[in-house]
Structures are given as C-alpha cells and as structure tokens.
C-alpha cells in the first residue's frame, strides 16, 4: 500500500564538499484530512482534532506566511486553517525550534481551529522537486497542489483560500482551479486601497452573503470578481483590528531588518559562535552552559550565569559566573540559556556590594569591589527565552532629543533587567502615556539594542488597571474570562434547575451521608471549601479518621476545554485586591465547594486507627458522597475545643434546634473535634520522634505572633485547631503520595523540597553571631532548634528576621514526576517526609487535579479495571510539572508586585515631610558599603537606605540624634557601618539596630514606583500615639488596599459608572482571598522564597 519514491538531496559537508544523498520517501493513499466534510472518514483515519464545520472557507497559508505571520495566525478568530506539512517543515528548518514548537502547540491546542495536513506523504499531493527548481518555488507549488487536492477531496464543497506573499504564484495559480483562490495576505495594501473604496458596497454585500450561507462558493467568487488584487486580512477580517495592527508592526520591523542588514556598519558585539562549536566546547569543558540572570539593581553592569546540570560538576566552580558589562553579555537577555567562556583569572572582577540606583548608567564607583569571582563572557546563545515585554515610550521631550531618526524609537521595558528595545512605529506620540506590550524580533551584532515590534496597548501609566495588567503580562499570566465553550461544559445549578446527585454516581460511590459526621473548619467567611474531616468510633473499638476532598475531577473531564484552561492557568492567582480563579465560580464556589447541609461528591482517604496507640491499621481511598454537617470557622472550633460553649450561638447550624437535640449534637461535635485534635497530636509526635522537627511549625507561630501583636481578634497562642487541620491534610497528602507512587512508579506527580546548600546559610550564621546566637544548620532539626533558641526577649523582630533569612536560604519546593528523579531525591526537607504531594486543594491548584486523576487510576488498577488512557507519561508529566512550578512562581511574583504597587499607591499621595504615617520604626538587617537594608515591621516593607547620598555626603547624627548630610567617609565592618564626617563626628549603625525612617515614593515613568527609605534618626521611633502602634499592620494592610481601591474607583466613577466584575464576584461568593490560615500554613510549608515584605504582607 505504500509507494516508495526516492529523494535526492545534495548536502554540503563541513569540509565544503557536496554530498549526494539518496533518501527514501514513502507515499500512502490516505493521510488524515481532519475535515468534517471528508467523504470517507474511516479511510482517512480522522481521529483527534477536526476542523469546525461552521466556517465559510478553509485557509491555507503559504510557507512564507507561516514563517513571518504566525503570530497573526494564532488569533483564535481565524478559523479553519490548514497548515501544510511543507510549510511546517520550512518553519522547522529556517526558524528554529522555538518558532516550530509554537506552531506545534498551536496545532495541539484544541481551542484553535487549525490542523496539519501531511501533504508530502499523500501520493497525489506529493510533487518531486524538479531539476533546477528553486526550493521556494517548489514549496509553493507543493502547497498549491495539496490545496487543490484537498478541495476535490472535500468534494468541491468548501472553497479554499491559499494565502501567499509570492506575486508570481498569485498570477500563476490565481485562476487555475475554480474554488481554490490564491490571494496575498496583507501586502500591496496601500496600492489597492483606492480601488477597494470604489467597489466597497458590492463587496460588503457579497461578504455578508458569504457569512450567511454555509456552502458559499459563489458568494466567495463574487468577492473575488469584484476586484482583482486580493488580500486576505482586509477581505475576510476587516474588523479584527488587533490583527491588522500586529501585521503592520511586523511588516515594519521586517523592513527595518532588511535595511539594516544591507547597510551593515561597525559591529557593536562579537558574533555568536556556531552551534557545533558551542556544543563541542561544552562537551570538552572549554565553555560553560547556564542561564543568564541579570542583577535587577545594576542591570547595566552585572549579570550572573547560573550553571546548569553537567557543566556544574565538571568545571569545579561553586559560584555563579559574573558577566560584567553589556559587551560581555553579548546580546543575551535575562532568562536565556547561554554559553560562557571564562576569562583569565587576572581579569576577574568582584560583585559590587554597594547599594545603587538603577538609573545611573555605568557610574564609576569609588568603592573597591569585593573579592573577585569567576568572570566570563557570552560566546553564544543556546535558547532564547524572549517573551512579551511591557514597555513605556519616551516622553515628548525625550523623543525630540533623540532627534533625526524619529521613526525608530527606543522604548524602556518595565523590567529593569531587559535592555531598551528599538521599535519602529509612527504612533509613538499617541502611545506616550500608555503601557505597551512589545515583542523582540532580532538583535543583530551591528545594533546596540534589539529590534522589536509593537503588539498592543495595556492601559495608562499610573492607572490601577493598567498597572495590574502590566504585572500580569510581565509574569506571563493571561486571564481572559472563561469562554462560552468552556462554560457550556459546566453543570447547571440554579434555583429553577437545582443540581442533584445522580443515581449512577450514587451506586458507584460510597455513601457517607448518613453514617459519618462530616464537618469543615475554615476561616470565617470562606466559601470555597476544599476539605472536610470526619472521625468516629468503629464497632471493634478502633477509630476511623476521614479526610474528604472536593471531587473536582468529576466535573472536569481530562482534555475538556475547561481542563485545558485550568492546566494553562495552573493555579488561582491572588493579587492584593483581586483573584483570578483557576475554575469558573460555579465549580469553585458552589458545586465543588463542600458546603454545609448539601450533598456533594468527594474523594476520601479514610484510615482505621488503633484505639489506644493511634497506629494506622488500614487505609481506604475512594470516591464518596458526603453531606457536611457543620461549616465551622477556626475560632469557633477552638472555643468548642476549650469548652466554651457560648460560641454555639455563632454557628448557624445550631440556631434552629430545640434545646435537647442541640445538646446532643453539640456533644457529638465536641467529641469529634477533641478526638481529632488528639489524633493530630499523636501523628505529629510520631513525626517529631522520627527525627523530623518541622521548621514551619515554628514559622506558624511567627506568623501568628505578628497577628497577636496587632490583631486583637487572634488570641496569643496559635490555635491548636489550625495545626490539627494542617496535620490531617499533611497526613492525607503523604498517604496519597505513597499510593500513587506505588501504583505509578514512573509517572506520579509528587512534591519535593531539596535540602538547602550550606553555603547559603553563611549570612544567617553571621547575623546571628552579631546578636550572640549560634545557629546550627546541619539538619532541619538542629536548625529549627537553634532558631527557637535565638530569641531576644527585648526584640521579637530579631527572631523574625533570622527566620526569614533561613527561609530565604532554602530552595523552593517543587513538583516533579517520579520517573525523572531518583527515589532519594523525593524527600521533603521542610516537612521531613519521604514522599509528599498536593492532594487537598483541587479547586485552586491544577497539580491536585492531576493527583486526583492518578489516585482514581490507582484505585481502578487495584480493581483490575485499567483506565490509564488519560494519564500523563513521564515526559509529559515532567513538562507539566515545569509548567506548574513556573506558574506558581509567577503567581508569587505577581502577588508580591501587586502588594508593592498598592504600598506605593498608598504612600504616593502622602506628603512624606508632614504625614505622620510616613515616619516609622525600622530594623537594619543587612549592611552594604554605602548603606543599609532596613525592614519596617509596621508595613512589612523591606528597602534600602543610603548612608551616602548622590553628592557624596554622608549621614551624621547630632546629639539630638537627628540626621544631617555632611561631607565625610564611610567604613564598613562585618556587623556595623560607621560614618565619619570631616568634622570628626561619627555615627555607627549595627545590625538589628532600630532607626527611624521616613518613607517616600520614588515615582518612575517607565518602571514601577519604588518605596524609598531615608534614615532620619538613629534612635528607635517614638510613637506619639499609642493607639496607632496597636493598630494591626495586617488591618492596616487591608485598609491600605481598600483605600487605594476606593480612591481609584471614585476616580473612575467620576468618569463613568464602571463595575468591577471581579470585585462583584468576590462579594457574591465571599471566597477566601488566599489568606485563610490554612493556605498561609501551606505557603510556609512550601517554604517558598518570598520576601518578607510579601509573606508578611496582605
């Protein structure tokens, strides 16, 4: 059935000789056409993605169009696109892996209506290349030929539009076959505009007609008859403005590039070495491969290359490699995978320890840098990690100073680490006050800056919505509202048509509604209840503990639209003032939420425990139906546990009961909570006994300490109920991890937390020594113990800072696939468990959804009914883990950045000289050569304060401890810094000293605003108003957000009444904003590397 053909290739060898190679090429009578119009779908073996049937035509882009305008083809509005294999292969060969992968993902994505047609393997579509025919001509000819075949294959029922940029092709093929139209994509636009105007009415009509009828050959023809020069975008998508703009900007940047390559002037950078040389160099150890990491604070000068994989072990280098200056960085951009050559030792440089302002370009610094570290230069880039960048156009004055070349404009990215980008556009003036998204196209060796093109506008500078959008784009978070197709998959639950437990499910699932007392403990007002608990005594006297988690996977089938969307989002994003859900609210706040008094599906883990020793005897996993009896909040549960029953009146479930049944039910509940606490205590003691003392147990207290200081709602000690619930969740996660790992040793999703590098603890140790504490960092147990001991009775902040330093020194906890790691590496350092995963929050984490599916497959495996089809293979799972880890990091960053945004907006309107709030107490937690880093506990802000200002004056404090700027010098020691004026006065700042700082906002046009700190006194700040001191910083924080939001909203209301959908949503469903204590605990448990400003923020 296959036909063999031979392809002769002429290849050039490395020595320059030509080699004649004969390769086989097999053709087959049928390849999948993936069209719903296919007359013999069985013969074509059409499986998987089909083109949708409601399009008026199919569009086949020529190879050149796919290469240059892929971004436009990515618009979901463009439907019915057939990519020919020939076109895909040219993309692969000429544009490299990155572009090709983009195309592959597009083809895989079920949301885009496009398919690949393997025309070169179809016996009628394949055309051998003729002698003397150029590659380009042959490709176009092949694609046209395939288009014609496809047209006839669909029995001439669907007109096909081939889009090409080749004028000759349009002339040659334009009128060859009726029904297959060959037109241009966009070019020749200006030329024909006047022509179109004349015939517009006619054409408009025809187009309308064409959209109405499904079989529309004639109407299409009518369009094409109306004018001879055609162009796809104008004809079919005149309203898709974004696509037009994007197209213009791509065209322009292309033209620029062509011009540039013609007039190659002096080279700014060394050429990159060819890939073979790089690969050979890496193998031989001459070059080193790593990821470029630009120093945010000195983006012009310093970048570091973090070593990757094998090269790390071989080279014997422990630290990162410094890349000093833009020349050495050689056109690589933050995040690229680069190849580095080490410089000889005498050219090595040290990193600068001085604080510095970002704007100052290449300022000569007086201070001697610290000891030299390995320094290198970039010789090649293995993988470019260019993404979309948010930039700001220069203001009018700056444009004028740039002068003659007004067409090309240097724009400044929001991210300091990205170099300026050259954009050619005519809209510069109009875009001045906006945040704009651009994409980098190229960076030639001849050009000082990379070339890019303009993509879209985000919003005005300084506008809250615009700035939030900026943060989202910078973290590559895209949160469009859920589409109609996705919402269609959702079950219905309206008062008229309530959702019910279906009888089939009732048969399949274990029914716990009558037998178990199930209840949930969550923060007050929480509506997305992931988890519930149950405990009871069995007939044999043993105890039965159950953890019941919302069964999200029941509502989200694998590879459904909603699943794909959730996978892309990977997590719910919590910003300071809003939330972007992973799942639509019908699931997250209603059907999946285990609310009190309603029937819900759940996935349960149920243990049988020995009655006295609480030893786990048996474990059962499975799907269940539950009805939560009580939806308690933490404080109420704690009160019940402590025996204070007055709280009962606050629990709605008890309200309508008569006295007697109330008493009985109350006793039952109190017994359950008490037993649960008892069990949790035992489990924890057992873990502690095994040498596992968790760091986070202490951390929790820190968090709560903070609450305690200021929040009179929260009692002094952390509630034991928190730990109880957390312990049960950890237990469930741990057991599920064990189960799925046993069933799927190579494709289970677990979570690891690698032990930290000892050298990262050195700063912590030194800081502690300054206060006279010794920190033993050899194991997690000793570390936690010594952190406990390092407590200054006079200053609780010291302990807090030390802990945050310890957290910073640790690596992130990560998801991984068990097939790609050795079993020893599964260990979770923070929790001291050998296997751990995330199972308990499927509503807001995609990883939990994957784990749920794995668990379901594992159970069915036990029952000998395999449902393995929908599980990820090791390779896919690893890819997915990388994606989820990545998204989690983005979620953390965006949360942090949005908090900072709100902080800045809060302080922006205040006058720093007069306003009381802008002066605050701060603690020095790190010393640099020209300043100190200060932590302000009241606002949870971390920032730098300079001891030497821009004019070279140093700080000095008189007898009244007020600071002044005077000429003098600074001297830095390990634990202190001394500033001596020429007059002989000197002032010394020690680590952990309290000082008074003034907070002001440094506004920036192109970047985010930053908080500036200025030391105004070397004495602790005396609070004039005690009430203010007792005000909770947390309270203040939420006030802060509210205040900023309110002022923004007021401003908006003045213009127009605009309802913030998310805000409304929030009020409607009252969901937790990720600040439930449990999530807080989870977060610390993850030991994520959050800045203190963040983890104590919001």
């Amino acid at each position: 059935m296959l036909q063999k053909r031979e392809k002769v290739l002429l290849l050039r060898t490395f020595q320059g000789r030509t080699l004649r190679i004969v390769r086989e090429h097999y053709l087959r009578p049928s390849v999948p056409c993936n069209s719903p119009l296919c007359p013999q779908p069985a013969a074509c073996r059409n499986d998987g993605k089909l083109l949708s049937s409601d399009v008026t035509h199919y569009m086949i882009p020529d190879w050149k169009v796919v290469q240059d305008y892929l971004e436009i083809l990515e618009f979901p509005e463009l439907k019915g696109i057939i990519f020919m294999q020939t076109a895909c292969q040219t993309v692969q060969h000429q544009r490299g892996r990155r572009q090709y992968n983009k195309l592959r993902n597009l083809l895989k994505d079920a949301r885009h209506d496009c398919i690949l047609f393997a025309n070169e393997f179809q016996q009628h579509c394949y055309l051998p290349r003729e002698r003397g025919e150029s590659m380009e001509k042959w490709q176009t000819r092949s694609i046209y030929n395939a288009a014609v075949w496809y047209f006839h294959h669909c029995q001439d029922r669907m007109p096909i539009v081939m889009v090409t940029e080749d004028k000759e092709a349009i002339q040659q093929y334009g009128s060859e076959t009726e029904g297959v139209f060959v037109i241009s994509f966009k070019f020749l636009r200006n030329f024909k505009r006047f022509k179109m105007k004349k015939k517009k009415p006619n054409k408009e009509e025809a187009r309308r007609e064409c959209t109405q009828k499904s079989s529309s050959l004639h109407s299409l023809q009518a369009i094409f008859c109306s004018n001879e020069m055609q162009n796809y975008l104008d004809n079919f998508w005149p309203d898709l403005k974004a696509a037009h703009e994007l197209c213009d900007s791509i065209l322009q940047s292309q033209r620029e590039r062509e011009n540039e390559s013609q007039e190659s002037h002096g080279k700014e950078y060394a050429e990159h070495l060819p890939l073979e040389v790089l690969e050979a160099g890496i193998k031989s150890g001459r070059y080193i491969q790593g990821i470029l990491n630009v120093n945010k604070h000195r983006a012009q000068m310093e970048a570091f290359v973090r070593l990757q994989g094998a090269s790390c072990k071989d080279s014997g280098l422990l630290s990162d490699i410094l890349i000093h200056g833009m020349k050495a960085r050689n056109r690589s951009i933050h995040g690229d995978v680069v190849v580095v050559e080490l410089l000889p030792r005498n050219e090595w440089k040290g990193r600068t320890a001085a604080l510095c302002e970002n704007d100052s370009e290449d300022k000569a610094l007086g201070d001697p840098p610290s000891e030299p570290m390995p320094t290198g230069r970039v010789v090649g880039i293995l993988q470019k990690n260019w993404r979309d960048y948010v930039v700001t156009f220069p203001s009018k004055e700056e444009v004028q100073s740039q002068g003659k070349n007004a067409q090309k404009i240097l724009v400044t990215p929001w991210d300091y680490r990205i170099p300026k980008i050259r954009i050619s556009t005519q809209q510069a003036e109009a875009l001045q006050d906006f945040r704009v998204v651009v994409r980098i196209d190229s960076w030639e060796a001849t050009s000082l800056y990379p070339n890019g093109h303009f993509v879209r506008v985000l919003g005005r500078i300084g506008d809250l919505e615009g700035e939030i959008a900026t943060i989202l784009v910078e973290n590559s978070i895209s949160v469009v509202p859920f589409s109609e197709a996705q919402m269609c998959e959702m079950p219905v639950n309206t008062p008229g048509n309530p959702w019910k437990v279906s009888p089939e499910e009732e048969r399949e699932r274990k029914d716990l509604r009558e037998t178990h007392l199930v209840f949930s403990i969550d923060p007050k007002g929480c509506e997305d209840v992931d988890d519930t608990l149950s405990v009871r005594t069995l007939t044999n006297g043993n105890l039965e503990l159950g953890v019941h988690i919302a069964d999200v996977t029941h509502f989200v089938p694998p590879n459904s639209y909603i699943d794909i969307e959730a996978r892309t989002r990977a997590t719910t994003y919590y910003l300071a003032d809003r939330r972007y859900d992973m799942l639509p609210s019908i699931l997250s706040a209603d059907l999946c939420s285990l609310l009190g008094g309603v029937d819900r599906y759940a996935v349960s883990v149920i243990w049988e425990l020995d009655k006295t020793s609480y030893e786990i005897k048996k474990v059962w996993y499975g799907r269940t139906i539950i009805r939560s009896a009580y939806k308690l909040f933490y404080e109420a549960a704690q009160e019940l546990l402590d025996g204070n029953f007055h709280i009962v009146d606050d629990i709605p479930e008890f309200r309508d009961l008569d006295e007697k049944s109330k008493q009985a039910k109350l006793e039952e509940l109190v017994w359950a909570i008490g037993k649960l606490t008892d069990i949790a205590r035992h489990i924890r003691a057992k873990r502690d006994h095994c040498g596992a003392l968790e760091l986070e147990g202490v951390e929790i207290r820190v968090q709560l300490d903070e609450k305690k200081n200021i929040h009179d709602l929260i009692p002094k000690q952390p509630l034991e109920v928190h730990e109880t619930v957390a312990e049960c969740m950890i237990l469930a996660n741990h057991w599920v991890a064990k189960k799925i790992w046993e069933s799927f040793p190579h494709q289970a999703l677990l979570r690891q937390h690698p032990p930290p590098h000892q050298e990262f603890f050195s700063e912590l140790r030194e800081c502690a020594k300054a206060k006279g504490f010794f920190i033993d960092t050899r194991s997690n147990k000793t570390l936690a113990d010594s952190l406990d001991n390092a407590n200054d009775p006079n200053d609780p902040i010291v302990n807090r800072l030390l802990r945050s330093m310890a957290t910073q020194a640790m690596s992130n906890a990560l998801y991984f696939s068990t097939g790609s790691c050795a079993e020893e590496e599964f260990h979770h350092y923070g929790l001291a468990l050998d296997k751990y995963t995330h199972f308990t929050s499927p509503i807001r984490r995609y990883s939990d959804i994957v784990v749920h599916r794995l668990l379901m497959a594992a159970i069915s495996k036990d029952k000998k009914t395999e449902i393995k089809d929908n599980l990820f293979s090791n390779k896919d799972l690893e890819e997915l883990c990388r994606h989820i880890n990545n998204r989690n990091r983005a979620a953390q960053h965006s949360q942090k950045q949005s908090t900072e945004l709100f902080q800045c907006m809060y302080f922006k309107d205040k006058d720093p000289d007069n306003e009381e709030r802008c002066i605050s107490d701060g603690v020095i937690y790190s010393i640099r050569t020209n300043g100190v880093l200060v932590f302000i506990p009241r606002f949870g802000i971390k920032g730098a304060a300079y001891l030497r200002n821009k004019d070279g004056l140093v700080i000095s404090c008189g007898s009244d401890s007020r600071s002044e700027w005077k000429p003098g010098s600074l001297q830095r020691f390990q634990n202190k810094i001394t500033s001596t004026t020429t007059g002989g006065e000197s002032v010394t700042f020690h680590l952990f000293d309290h000082v008074t700082v003034r907070i002001s906002v440094q506004a920036s046009r192109c970047h985010s605003d930053t908080i500036r700190l200025e030391i105004i006194s070397n004495k602790p700040y005396m609070i004039p108003d005690t009430e203010l001191f007792h005000q909770s910083s947390l309270l203040l924080k939420s006030d802060l957000v509210k205040e900023v939001t309110r002022s923004v909203e007021e401003a908006q209301l003045a213009q127009e009444v605009k309802v913030n959908v998310i805000q409304e949503d929030y009020q409607k469903y009252c969901q937790t904003k990720g600040r439930s204590l449990y999530t807080l605990l989870e977060e610390i448990r993850d030991l994520a590397l959050l800045d203190v400003s963040n983890s104590y923020g919001m």
């Binding site: 053709l27 087959r28 999948p32 892996r97």
Partner: protein, 245 residues
C-alpha cells in the same frame, strides 16, 4: 539548529512511514550459478548480497573440524562505495569481523548442523549499499541463500531492527534514524517457534521500555518472514516451471 524530528506529532517518520511500518523489501534467490546458493535483498536502500558454499569438506586446517556438527563460517564485507563517506577497506576491520561473528552465531542456531558432521558451510555476505539495518539485511539475505543451497534449517531466520524515539518503538530504522543516536536493537527471530537467534543492543535503554521495543522488533521480523516466504515460494514455482516439472 533544530534537530531532525524523527517522529512527528502526527506519527510520521522522516521518510513518511508510521512507527511500525517496514521499508520496502525486494529479494531474489539464485542470482549466481557457480555458488551452491545465493540471494540478493533490498530493504529500502540497504542492499545486500549473500552467497553460500557447502556443506563441503573442511578447507585449510583439518584441526578445525568438529566431530559432531558442521562448521559455519561467515564472512561479512561491505563495498567501499556503500556508505556516504568512501571506505578504505572493504573487509577485515573490527566492525566487519564482529558482524561476521554475529552472523555465525545466528546461523549456528538456525542450521541443523548436526546433520553434517566434520564438514563446513561458508556464508559470504556483501553489503552494496548501507542505509541502516545492515545486520538485518545480511541475515535475511543469508537465510534466502542458505535455503537456495538446500541446507536444512530449523526455520527461516528473520531479522529486523527497532529503535525507540519519544516513548514509541520504531521498526526497521533507516540510516537517518540510526545516526540520531538513540537506542537501537537488532533481533534475529525464528518465526515459527518465536525463538530468538540473536539479540543485540548497544545504547542504553530503560528496562521498562525494553519489552515494548522487543515486541516491535519481533512483529517486524514476522512481517519480514511473510515477505521472505513469498519470495521463496515464487522462486520454487519459477524453478519448477523451468525444470518442466
């Protein structure tokens, strides 16, 4: 440089085959009159010629004779023009010697050597064009040649290679796929009994995947058997017509 995509998302290999499909096989028996048995085979662009002499008396040193069975002597050579880069020596290098040994092992397992004690069977194989799967082509050619010589065998020996790319086993690798450097498994099978005459693999492959690759190679070898069987029957039919039987 984007490396060649050996298996596309749509499941096509570089040359248009799907994962389990063989290359085109063409074969002829009895191509030389002066030898006892001979055969020529094309597997895609890999072309091999096999010649068999024997069983005959031991040539050279008598000491080599085996008292209870025949001695199988295999020699492998590949033409200087068979590969992309011209070779210096057609035979006698390490690789050829190894290939000769492997062939010998394979055929000692298949030929009923105990029927011809103290005698010798010579198998000479030459590769005219090497485009991947040379071992398999040699075994298949030699099988036909041994059959042509009328030497009794337990069964056909059918060989095929298999590789492993993107979690999928590929049957019958071409040169492009071999050169990519993934694991490659060569299997010689006695199809009727399903016994393995020779199994060889150079690169590392995870144990979990071995079964899958082995299964693919075995299925391909059975497919080869069907084709070779057809060739033999065709040859016998033609010969009997010529003999006027």
């Amino acid at each position: 440089m984007a490396g060649l995509e050996l298996l596309s998302d749509q499941g096509y290999r570089v040359d248009g085959r799907r994962a389990g499909e063989l290359r085109k096989i063409q074969a002829r028996m009895g191509v030389f009159a002066q030898a006892d048995g001979s055969a020529y085979i094309e597997q895609g662009n890999t072309k091999a010629l096999a010649v068999v002499y024997g069983p005959h008396e031991i040539r050279g040193s008598r000491a080599r004779a085996l008292p209870d069975r025949a001695l199988v002597n295999c020699q492998y050579s590949s033409a200087t023009f068979s590969t992309g880069e011209r070779k210096r020596r057609p035979h006698g290098d390490r690789k050829s010697c190894e290939m000769g040994l492997q062939l010998r092992q394979t055929f000692e397992a298949a030929i009923l050597t105990q029927l011809h004690p103290r005698s010798q069977i010579d198998i000479y194989v030459q590769v005219l064009q090497a485009d991947g799967g040379t071992y398999a082509a040699c075994v298949n050619a030699a099988t036909l040649a041994v059959l042509d010589a009328g030497i009794p065998m337990r069964d056909f020996v059918c060989a095929c290679s298999a590789g492993f790319v993107d979690n999928t086993a590929l049957a019958d690798l071409s040169h492009v796929e071999e050169a990519a450097g993934g694991p490659q498994l060569a299997l010689a099978l006695l199809p009727a009994s399903g016994q393995i005459a020779l199994l060889e693999m150079d690169a590392r492959l995870h144990e979990d995947h071995l079964e899958q690759v082995l299964e693919a190679a075995a299925r391909a070898a059975r497919d080869v058997h069907t084709l070779l069987d057809r060739v033999v029957r065709q040859h016998v039919r033609e010969a009997s017509i010529l003999l006027g039987d």
